[in-house]
Symmetry: C2
Subunit: 296 residues, 2 copies
């Protein structure tokens, strides 16, 4: 088992510096200079061994990539530009420098792609691996789950059900990659920001995350299942970890959004509450389990 | 076991809203409006069951308090004013709403005292409880561990060794409180900011944290042990979790600091590296174990 300082040193090695970083890793706090007039957008999300991943299926690089990806996906849903992040590691006895370096490499690969700088973190012992990242971004007008209005179009960016399919035996390479190395739709989220009235990323399952958006917006929705960008409808509706974006868009802005971002209209926001599904225009009952409850 | 949404609802209940919060808990991201001209100061720290606390000794309220306190102490070391925080919970099967509410109440009590608003978080299943908080503050000129210069006075704010004493049988009420409900020295840190050249909070033990400061500042230090604000010298040197502040202060600013903040001069920064201890002016050897390694 390496010492705490050895592990921190190995972990920090692959990360480049960042812009507007006043104090980086190595002090009690990091300090950054936020851009004038922008809102600071912040999210935190954890990836836990035996809950979100197993070492049988994931390489250390996968774990590092995915831990950051799930956070960048939240920034994408807010339409924010990623800037900085902090990484709190919990590692069990027997953790090697090789494992820690692998996690760091996968994380740094995605961080470089989105020019998001590691500015601080924490390390502690624990009974299992977990990586809790807090990502900071900037947006002039961040999107939230509230703001959808009856009449808005319901739009999906990205594909549904692939990450869940990636857990099944015989998964395709694309499905396995969607599970281990999801691509956060950061550029798409930033572009969609100008058009959408509300947004959520599909992490817990389409129906469950749509439910979150509807509850916060105090609306209902109608969804035509045949339009969902998916091969397997059950997984599309209730499988989690897709990191697609689900947007409500005022009708008059829909054409402009569709020119800016590759997306599919799958339904519309209506008065009331709850979700009505149709399949080729005919009512379809809601599945009994509608997504991922992190405590069940 | 409550559902994820039930647990989140119970957890959020005791927290008041905050200032300059654009999007609070309930969306993928929180969004805040940073103050113009201030640096954003950020830290993350975790408190883990069976590593940092046991339910035999800690009430849920203690765990909530301490989880936030260790983060506010980091902001205090930077001389920053706490503003907002996010809380990532990991909870095992069998967690009750009563436990979660207790953690939230203890955390909210400290948050109110320092006007620090909960703006977001995450919840996941895990094999043991952990609370990972990311705290955000603001400072015009945040302190770091780098910046100490030979000739600076070495100053301690707060007491040393009490939290470690609080773990021993027969601990006094004050010692037990120092372990379960440490008081982050936020106001003291903000005042000291105007005078100090570098700072660290004593979380891993006086010698170990002083070592961090010296390494980042590329200096050494002489410390007179009889001046340390402690009852038990061994615990003062190497016991962790004190959340005292350790500052280097240019000599010409020392008197002004001492008028502003109750503090004790315990030594000085010197050229070179490492720590030389004296006791009543005579050399004293360094202890073999100099503090808390989170992985040992």
């Amino acid at each position: 088992m390496p010492s705490e300082l050895e592990l921190i040193e190995a972990f920090l090695a692959p990360f480049p510096g960042g812009e507007r970083v006043v104090i980086g890793p190595g002090s009690d706090c990091a300090a950054v200079r936020p851009a004038r007039g922008m809102k600071l957008v912040v999210t935190t999300d954890a990836v836990v061994e035996r809950v979100h991943f197993s070492w049988l299926r994931f390489t250390p690089e996968d774990v590092g990539w995915k831990s950051l990806a799930v956070n960048l996906s939240d920034l994408a849903a807010a339409g924010a530009r990623p800037r900085w992040f902090l990484c709190a590691l919990a590692v069990p006895r027997g953790t090697t420098l090789r494992q820690a370096s692998g996690v760091a490499r996968g994380m740094a690969q995605l961080a470089r792609r989105h020019r998001c700088a590691l500015i601080g973190g924490n390390v502690t012992a624990a009974s299992a691996w977990s990586v809790t990242i807090t990502a900071l971004g900037e947006a002039a007008r961040p999107l939230s789950r509230a703001g959808a209005r009856p009449g808005d179009a319901l739009v999906v960016v990205g594909r549904l059900g692939e990450a869940a399919a990636g857990l099944r035996p015989g998964a395709s390479a694309a499905e396995s990659k969607a599970q281990r190395r999801p691509e956060p739709l950061v550029r798409e989220g930033m572009k969609a920001n100008a058009f959408a009235s509300a947004a959520v990323d599909v992490s817990d399952g389409f129906l469950r995350d749509l439910g979150h958006l509807l509850r916060e917006s105090r609306c209902g929705a109608q969804v035509e299942c045949s339009l969902l960008p998916a091969r397997d409808l059950d997984l599309a509706l209730s499988g989690g970890e897709d990191y697609a974006l689900l947007l409500s868009v005022p009708r008059r802005k829909l054409a402009a959004l569709q020119r800016a971002v590759r997306c599919i209209e799958v339904g519309r926001i209506v008065r009331g509450s709850g979700i009505q599904l149709t399949e080729h225009g005919r009512p379809r009952p809601l599945p009994r389990v509608t997504g991922f409850d992190h405590l069940k």
